[in-house]
Each structure stands twice: as structure tokens, then as C-alpha cells.
């Protein structure tokens, strides 16, 4: 794999399923895995599911994780600790959908992991409504 991969972690399985199809249309060449909802399908996140998602798309070029809310972050950090040590995994401090969109475009260029994280985090500042 010559591209940074992406993992989306949300409290809802539907949200990450939708994000994945949205981004696939934009850039099918970036590997994307998702973890959403608790293991009974309820609203929440699950560290083991996140770890599996990361491992399923991890490549030497690295993996960037985007998450929705605070407790998804706690479980993502825990998932990273539960998994193999020394992997290149970064969590982006970015809006999950907007950041994910910018990240998939940047990853599609073959950019390195720092650039992909930067693209995701810059999405914060992007004006969504143009002023005229």
C-alpha cells in the first residue's frame, strides 16, 4: 500500500457506514475501515472493534483515525495501546466528516501521514458557506 489509510470511529454504525460510501465515491484508492456503535449495535464505541478496524487497513505508510465525540477518543487511544506497539497511527483533531473528506483527498495524492493529518485538521477552518 502506497497510501495512508483512514479509520473512522463513531458512536453510530450508520454514520461511519455513510462516511465510508461518501469518501469511496470521491477517492476509491484509499483504504478506509470503520468502527461504529457498541457491540450490541447501540450508540457507543468499542475499543476492540476500533483495534480491528485499524489493523485491517494498517500499512507502513501509517493510518489516520478520525472520531466523533470524546468517548470515541478514549476508546481509540485504548485501542492503539491494545494493538501492536510501534505503529504509525495518528488521531486527527478534526471534524469527522469534513476532516475525513479533506484527508481522503490528501491521502489519495500519496502524501505522508503528517500531510494527511494536517489536511484533516485544516478542515476546521474551511468556510463551508462562501461569503459574497
Amino acid at each position: 500500500m502506497d497510501k495512508v489509510s483512514l479509520v473512522f470511529v463513531s458512536h453510530s454504525a450508520d454514520i461511519v457506514k455513510g462516511i465510508k460510501s461518501l469518501l469511496f465515491e470521491m477517492q476509491p484508492e484509499v483504504n478506509i475501515a470503520v468502527a461504529g456503535g457498541e457491540d450490541d449495535g447501540g450508540i457507543g464505541t468499542n475499543a476492540q472493534a476500533i483495534e480491528e478496524a485499524i489493523s485491517s487497513v494498517y500499512s507502513d505508510k501509517g493510518t489516520v483515525v478520525l472520531f466523533d465525540l470524546g468517548s470515541a477518543l478514549l476508546n481509540t487511544e485504548l485501542a492503539i495501546e491494545l494493538g501492536e506497539e510501534g505503529r504509525k497511527i495518528r488521531i486527527a483533531d478534526a471534524p469527522i466528516l469534513e476532516g475525513g473528506y479533506s484527508a481522503v483527498v490528501e491521502a489519495g495524492f500519496g502524501s505522508d501521514i503528517d500531510k494527511v493529518v494536517e489536511a484533516a485538521e485544516k478542515a476546521r477552518e474551511m468556510q463551508k458557506i462562501p461569503q459574497r
Binding site: 447501540g42 457507543g44 478514549l74 491494545l82
Partner: protein, 206 residues
């Protein structure tokens, strides 16, 4: 006082009873400043823990703590899952393979749990989370060879009640800003039950 597998099992079983008895209270507290699931989350976790304790037998405290950490990580959910799960994981590491722990050693184990919660959640005291029970309680009893369990329980209760006047800065309640004031934190409350269960177990056993 020596803490072995027997005391740990009794403590965790007492914790399960507290959570089960106060499931609604915990969810109601969470309804006020969160999403209303803390009681459900905790009850799911301790139920699975109970199944584990029933079906497996353990040699040393560290072994139980480790197995319980995996249950909490997998089953509690929400923010509380990774927090309690991380706490028990670090407690297991601190307990290591010792068969029996002195009161002082056991306080060290609990402090390892506290550090894990702080490291995981990045909360400081005063931010209206379970940290507001764990951190000051363990600080107060640090270095003690003998523990006055009534004092312990009362301190824990007071600490969780103190979260009422705090303005939440971490977790879902932080979204409420100043409106979080006036409600006791659910996670601080479940942690209070954890420490109350410990007092009840070791007070009787002493």
C-alpha cells in the same frame, strides 16, 4: 490486613450489588448532564464481570483485575468503559503476580488505577468527573498502613457530592457549560460505589 483473590472477589461482587441497586440513580444523574446511559453501561459491565467471576477461578489479584479490565473495556461502553477498563488494566499490572497485598500495597494498586484514568481522560480535579473522587481520596490515604474504612467511605461520598457544584469541563457534560452546575456527576457516583463496596468488604473482613 492482607488482600488476596478472596477479598478482591468479594469487593467486586459488592460493587456489582451497589451498581445493580443504583442503576436508575446513575442513569438519572447522567440524564441530567449527559445521555442518560451511565447506569445501563455500568450494569452491563458488572453483570458480565459477575459471569466471569462465576465461571473462572483466579490465582492472584492481578489476574482477576486483568480479566475484569477486559470485560469493562468490552462491555461498559461510553466514556466509562475505557476509563474503568484502563484503571483495572493498570491496577492488574501494579498488582503483578503477588498473592497477597498489604493495605499499603493495595493503595498503590488503586493509585495506579487513578493514574490510568487521568492519563486516559486527561481530566484534572475540579472538572466534574470520576477523577474528583479517585484523586483526592487516594491522596488522603496515601502512605497509611491502617485504613479507617468509615472515614474512607464518608470521604468518597463527600467527594462525589462535591462534584455537584462543579462546572463540567470534560465528557458530555462539558457541552452544558455552566448549566452542568447543580448536578452530581454520574461517573463520580459509580466510583463512589466502587470505593464504598471496598470499605464494606474490608471493614467486615477486618
Amino acid at each position: 490486613m492482607k488482600i488476596t483473590v478472596k477479598e478482591i472477589e468479594a469487593w467486586l461482587e459488592a460493587f456489582r450489588e451497589e451498581i445493580t441497586a443504583h442503576k436508575e440513580e446513575l442513569s438519572d444523574l447522567d440524564q441530567a448532564i449527559g445521555d442518560g446511559d451511565h447506569g445501563i453501561n455500568m450494569a452491563r459491565g458488572v453483570k458480565e464481570m459477575h459471569n466471569l467471576l462465576e465461571t473462572k477461578s483466579f490465582q492472584v489479584p492481578g489476574e482477576i483485575l486483568k480479566a475484569v479490565s477486559m470485560v469493562f473495556i468490552g462491555k461498559i461502553g461510553g466514556a466509562a468503559g475505557p476509563l474503568y477498563g484502563s484503571a483495572f488494566m493498570k491496577m492488574a499490572a501494579e498488582a503483578g503476580t503477588k498473592e497477597a497485598l498489604s493495605a499499603e500495597e493495595f493503595l498503590g494498586v488503586l493509585r495506579a488505577g487513578k493514574s490510568a484514568i487521568v492519563q486516559r481522560g486527561k481530566a484534572e480535579t475540579g472538572e466534574k468527573t470520576m477523577v474528583d473522587v479517585w484523586l483526592p481520596l487516594l491522596k488522603k490515604f496515601e502512605g497509611k498502613q491502617e485504613i479507617d474504612w468509615d472515614d474512607w467511605e464518608n470521604s468518597a461520598e463527600e467527594l462525589k457530592n462535591n462534584t455537584k457544584e462543579m462546572h463540567a469541563k470534560k465528557g458530555r457534560a462539558a457541552y452544558l457549560g455552566a448549566r452542568s452546575v447543580g448536578h452530581i456527576d454520574p461517573g463520580a457516583t459509580s466510583s463512589y460505589y466502587l470505593f464504598k463496596a471496598l470499605a464494606d468488604t474490608l471493614r467486615e473482613g477486618s
